[in-house]
Every structure is written in C-alpha cells, then in structure tokens.
Amino acid sequence: MYKIAIIDDKFPYDINKDAVNKFFPSTKIEEWLANGDWSEEGDLKKLLDRIVASDLYNHKEIELICFLFPSALLNYLSETKEYPQLIIFDWEYQTQNQDTKKHLIEIINQTTSHIFIYTAQANSIWTFLVGEVFEKNLSRLQLLLKGDNKVSLFSSEDQILQFIISQFKEAYEFKMGEHSIRFEENKFLKSPSDILLLETMLGKNFLLDKLKKANFEISDNTIENIFSDVKLKFYLSKDKKYLLETKTVNSEKKYGALEEFSFLNALSKFGVKKIDKTLERGIAQV
C-alpha cells in the first residue's frame, strides 16, 4: 500500500490540544470531504477529492493519513516506524507555534519520502529553502503553490496527481486542468511525468494544441504526431558516448564521424530525459 501523509492545519476539524499529536485515517478524510466546511482550503479539498476519486484509491493501492501539525507526523514516525512514501507538507500553521523549517528538516532527515511542500506561501519562501540538507535531498523535494495553474499546463494539483500515478506502472487516466489524459506506456515516454519534459521542450501552447488534436491520449501514435513537425536532428559521436545537438566541422573534428538521428528516433533510442539534457547543454553523455 502506497502511504501518503498530508500535513495541514486547515482540515475541517476543531483544533484543540488533543489534536497536536493526532493522526487521521482515510475514513476520516472521506467523512470530511463529504460533510466538512473547507471554505478556507478549497485547493486542498480539490486535491484530496481527486485522490479519493482515483482508481488507485478505490483499488486500495493508496492510503491517506492526515496530521494537523508537522510535530504530529514526527510523533507518528517515532511511535510507529511506519514511513509514508509521499508527504504533502503545508508551510503555514496559525494555531500553534510550529517551527516549520526546523520540522521540515527533521522530516527530511528521518524519512526517505518524496515531499511536496504545498503552500500558499511558495512565492515568498522559495529563497528560504536553501542549505546543505536541501542540497543533499533535492531529488525528493518540490515546492508547489496551492492552486497554481498559471505557468504550466499542469496545475500544482495535477503535478501531485501525476507524481502519484507515476509510482504505478499501469495505464491510468489523469487530469490536466479540465482535460482528461489517457496515458499508455509507450516506446517514447515511460511515465506520465515525462509529459512535463515535452512541455519544456516544445512549449505549453504547442503541446496543448497537439494534445487537443490527439484527443488527449498519450500513445506511440500521439508522440509520433507531436514530433512530426520538429525537424531537429541529433548526432551521436563516433565512440557512441555523446549525443550532440549540432553537427559542425569542429564537432566532427572532436567527436569523429557523427551518426544522425531524427528527433523521434533519438527519443526512442536515448529516452526523453537524455534528449532534454542534450537540448539544454548542447551535449549529453549517453
């Protein structure tokens, strides 16, 4: 069972002393979603509604547990030694004097969980989350603004959902804003999260246009269609160690006779992450 811990003091629960170290199981969250007053936390409710409505939750592959304070999760970890695979961590706590950064660092140090810092304060705290513990754990930390759907096709909530789905191999339907996308494992993308790389490579408007034409289905055919207009080539060094974005006299002098690949062939052979890296730096080791 994939355990997701959510820490936020805006659950529709009357906070009092006994809540400090309490945890709440999935059944309680379902009850809150059905009957609670979420007027202060619409984005969190929408996220939880989507998790609870997912196939993964209904097939009992996901378990949710909630805490009102970071200290409650720390207490739970210490008592049960049961570590969630994913933690959704709010930054603001109004009813108790919680040292949020200190608790976040303790949670990072005590777990190997992936942690989304999911907060309305993301734009003001992002420069504050620096230092050795963050540098050492970058791959499992991400800061998301609650309800943000401005910069990317994928809202903050879409990204959390995508991350959860990516932990499971089966094909699933998921949401991009108002649109449902059906992801099938294919020879180009291994995980729904890889779609974010396509957005980086191609730009969100271009990708959205292509996805609309494909009826929001991600498959071999869709990817082939998306890249059919992209004329860019890639070049493999003679020793097959490097993938290059450009072919020039200088690059051939340095890397030997270069083998040419179409964008699609390169995507299939080297994978989307390697292609993205090559586009970013002009060269990547393969």
Partner: protein, 176 residues
C-alpha cells in the same frame, strides 16, 4: 558591477530573451520556478567585480577539469552559472536549490534574469590553479555553434571575461 562597454555589448549581442537562440524552445517553455529572479548575495547571486571571487567558493581541481564533460553531474557542486546583461555579470553556484522548479530542483540561468533579456550565458569553474574556465552552455542565452554569429560571440565572451578576471580560458578549445 562589471558592466560591459558599448563595444562589448555590440559584440556580445543582440541581447536575447530566454531561449531566443534555441531551435525548439521559446519563452513558452519556461517551467514553474524557472521564471523567478534571485537578487541577493544571500541567495547565492554574485555580481562580479575585478578579479574577485564569490564567497564560500568551491574550486575545481585540475584533475576534475578532465571529467567535466564526461561526468558533469558529479562536479555540479563546483559549477557556476553566469549571464552577461547590459549592466552587469551575474554568477550563481548551480547547486543553489530552487525547489519551485518542476524537475532538477536547482537554479537555472533565468533565475538570474527573470523573463528578461541577456546578452550571453554559460557555465564557469574557478580552478585551484588560479584560472577561470568558461563555456557557452546555456540553452536560454548561450551562443550556438551553428549560428552565424557564433565565432564573434564566443570571442566577445572571452574578451569580456578577460576585462574582469585574469587568466580566463575556454574549458575546451573546440567545445560544442
């Protein structure tokens, strides 16, 4: 501050918006967290002054220089990003966390510019031998080898850096 001269600006430019020299990407490709600008030295941003170095500098060894291309991820802790703008040179350690980014939760070149123009961008290493090694690796602002202005830009970057720092070299003579 290390503002380029009018002649340097002419040789380094024209200034470009993020991805303005890219074949596939546009400013539309900027992801969450990549468009936010960092301002202060507390955030790791350094405005270069004559032959000066950032605080808490991580210097690369001569031996490690050999592996920069082969194993860039292992030496990322010693890599710095740079951009030249109309009025300054800005430098930041690439290891600086940026947890807002969708992937690779470290800073990128546009965290030094926001959604604004720069003349050039790339990476650099301060070496224990006293040299500064630079390249043009930035998909947002770097000059590109297949661009008609490539040779002019590359030379202009070197001339500009040498007007600030002693002993500046390109990391690889024939680097792509």
């Amino acid at each position: 501050m290390a503002a380029p001269t009018a002649q340097q600006i002419q040789n380094l430019g024209p200034a470009t918006m993020p991805f303005g020299r890219s074949k596939t990407k546009t400013i539309d490709s900027l992801q969450r967290g990549a468009e936010d600008i960092l301002y202060t030295i507390e955030n790791g941003v350094y405005d270069a002054t004559n032959n000066d170095e950032p605080n808490d500098i991580e210097k690369i060894t001569v031996e490690e220089l050999e592996f920069v291309q082969e194993k860039p991820n292992e030496i990322v802790v010693k890599k710095y990003l740079w951009v030249i703008r109309q009025n300054d040179l800005r430098i930041i350690p690439e290891r600086t966390p940026n947890l807002k980014r969708t992937r690779k939760q470290i800073v990128c070149h546009t965290n030094l510019t926001g959604e604004s123009e720069a003349l050039q961008g790339g990476e650099l290493y301060f070496c224990v031998n006293g040299n500064l090694y630079i390249n043009n690796s930035s998909d947002r602002f770097g000059c590109r080898e297949d661009d008609a202005l490539y040779a002019t830009h590359r030379e202009a970057v070197l001339v500009y850096f040498r007007s600030i720092y002693q002993n500046v070299f390109y990391l690889y003579d024939n680097e792509v």
